[in-house]
């Protein structure tokens, strides 16, 4: 009992301390929050989304032709890292975004589902290229499903055969908007 009380007291003191320090703290122009209430509110709906928005990690996962442009996206001409889309990860457990680049055959659907289920929530899917959007040129083939959206919920569609790496950049910016709302730049 004594220990519990002590812990509770310490927690209260700590909260008071944080509140006091935030009261006396004068934020610079364009700061995110000004007091504890706002801070908690911001953490509840703002800053987590803000952080999530700016650290979208795509999975290293290429199926077909569009994977060539995906490689280009990660390499030196279009440096994806400068916008917070960090290096491609090798394991689905570290990833937020799955970029389905290429045609989806019936034999590869269980593998894609399994990878998607291994990703931690919240998780997003980009259908990159005609084949992942609708089956593309192979839509009447006997071994192809007509678009990845028959299997997984898709957030952003990118059309093109193949789309340029710049288009993937735009798609990820669209996804950022979806995840964290419009970028509000208070400096302007």
């Amino acid at each position: 009992m004594d220990e519990n009380e002590r812990v509770q007291n310490a927690r209260k003191e700590m909260e008071q301390l944080v509140a006091d320090s935030l009261k006396s703290y004068k934020p610079p122009v364009g700061a995110f929050f000004t007091n504890l209430k706002e801070a908690t509110k911001a953490i509840a709906d703002g800053s987590i989304r803000w952080a999530r928005k700016n650290s979208l990690w795509p999975m290293q996962f290429g199926l077909a032709c569009c994977a060539m442009e995906l490689m280009d996206f990660g390499s030196s001409r279009i440096d994806a890292e400068r916008k917070g889309y960090l290096l491609f990860r090798g394991t689905p457990r570290q990833c937020d975004v799955m970029i389905v680049a290429g045609w989806v055959t019936k034999s590869v659907v269980p593998e894609i589902k399994r990878l998607y289920e291994q990703m931690s929530k919240p998780r997003y899917v980009i259908a990159y290229g005609e084949c992942a959007v609708s089956g593309g040129p192979w839509w009447e083939s006997y071994n192809i499903i007509q678009g990845i959206d028959q299997v997984l919920p898709v957030d952003v569609y990118v059309a093109g055969c193949p789309p340029k790496p710049e288009n993937l950049f735009e798609a990820l910016m669209k996804l950022q908007e979806k995840v964290g709302g419009k970028v509000e730049d208070k400096q302007e």
Binding site: L63, M71, S76
Partner: protein, 363 residues
């Protein structure tokens, strides 16, 4: 005791969607069993329902690392069926574009191969940068970045732009310098030497028996290149020399590809010099239909990955049957032979040295 390890099908170290079941004795490989078919979409069947020149775009997607080589293979088969002669200038234009495509493909291979050897990511960044420059030049010449669809029966869809020669020459000078840099960087690197020399040896006899083609065959000391053995376009006039190494290990395969890039640069330079003036444009698409019903055609071309062969039975408007001999499929069948007795860590060096494109294997 033997252990079985599953690799893939979706794994960063495999090339595309390939599943390997590896049987190990300790750390030594006893057996490798590739499971393929994850990218199969029945392209040979789809082509039977398309007009002749509609299929060209499908053929490019068979091997997406070197699309133009495949569209050239297909259009050559249609030309053979129709009995059309290629225009003299178009031969040179095709040769230049195809060799540029070969350089782009080999650069892509070099980057990903070094990545396979254990996160030499620097090489990947460098080669992708250079590959982009080659692709920009091809975009100037054909109007598209990745899938060009610029081969037409009897010629090409558009002639080279007027400033092409100037751009190409400056790019070739740059590439020559860069390839020298890559050689110096890799062949003085002890890690690279250790992981490639003496690994995955394929003897001359085995290479012939297993039917491998392309750089894998030439690295085993066999002097066979379709460009010289069954010569086409202007390769004979430009004194094309096949590049050969004798040791047959992973390093030899790397060296063959480096030498091929140098030879390609030499060929493009000479072709630009000796290219005749005139018309290079092909036939309008509407006129294309092979006149004889049910004619059988076989065409062979040297693709960046090996010998590509196309068998076509023609019909009036559409091909009756089309069959592709994909070089990557047959090269993959040599993997088990090469990997037996090697260490598990070397499996990806050997797999990488085959330069596989899984869409080419599965079709």
């Amino acid at each position: 005791m033997l252990t079985k390890i599953n690799v893939g099908p979706i794994h960063p170290s495999t090339h595309g969607v390939l599943r390997l079941v590896v049987t190990l004795d300790g750390d030594t490989i006893v057996n490798v069993e590739p499971h393929i078919g994850f990218l199969h979409r029945g392209v040979e069947k789809l082509v039977e329902n398309r007009m002749y020149m509609q299929s060209e775009s499908y053929m490019e997607k068979v091997d997406y690392a070197a699309p133009m080589a495949y569209s050239d293979l297909y259009v050559s088969a249609v030309e053979e069926a129709m009995g059309v002669h290629i225009k003299e200038r178009a031969k040179y234009v095709r040769l230049i574009l195809l060799e540029l495509q070969r350089i782009a493909s080999h650069l892509l291979w070099l980057g990903t191969f070094c990545n396979d050897l254990g996160q030499m990511f620097t090489m990947f960044m460098w080669t992708m940068k250079d590959r982009d420059l080659v692709m920009n030049l091809l975009q100037d010449a054909t109007g598209s970045r990745m899938f060009y669809v610029n081969m037409r029966v009897g010629g090409v869809s558009m002639d080279l732009p007027p400033d092409f020669e100037e751009h190409a020459k400056s790019l070739l000078d740059y590439l020559e310098k860069r390839i020298k840099d890559y050689e110096a960087f890799l062949e003085k690197n002890p890690v690279f030497i250790e992981r490639t020399k003496g690994v995955g040896v394929l003897s001359r006899k085995d290479a012939i028996n297993l039917g491998v083609t392309g750089p894998v065959l030439r690295a085993s000391g066999v002097n066979f290149d379709v460009r010289s053995a069954y010569t086409y376009y202007a390769y004979e006039k430009l004194n094309f020399m096949p590049q050969i190494q004798v040791k047959g290990d992973v390093f030899a395969r790397y060296k063959v590809r480096i030498l091929e890039m140098k030879e390609s640069i030499r060929l493009i330079r000479d072709a630009l010099k000796e290219m005749p003036e005139g018309d290079a444009l092909g036939m309008p698409i509407k006129l294309i239909s092979p006149p004889i019903k049910e004619k059988e055609v076989i065409v062979r071309r040297e693709l960046p990955r090996g010998e590509g062969m196309m068998y076509m039975v023609t019909d009036k408007q559409k091909p009756y049957r089309l069959s592709i001999r994909a070089p990557a499929f047959i090269n993959l069948s040599a993997l088990n032979h090469m990997a037996q007795g090697a260490k598990y860590a070397d499996l990806f060096a050997i797999l990488g040295s085959l330069d596989l494109v899984m869409a080419d294997v599965d079709r």
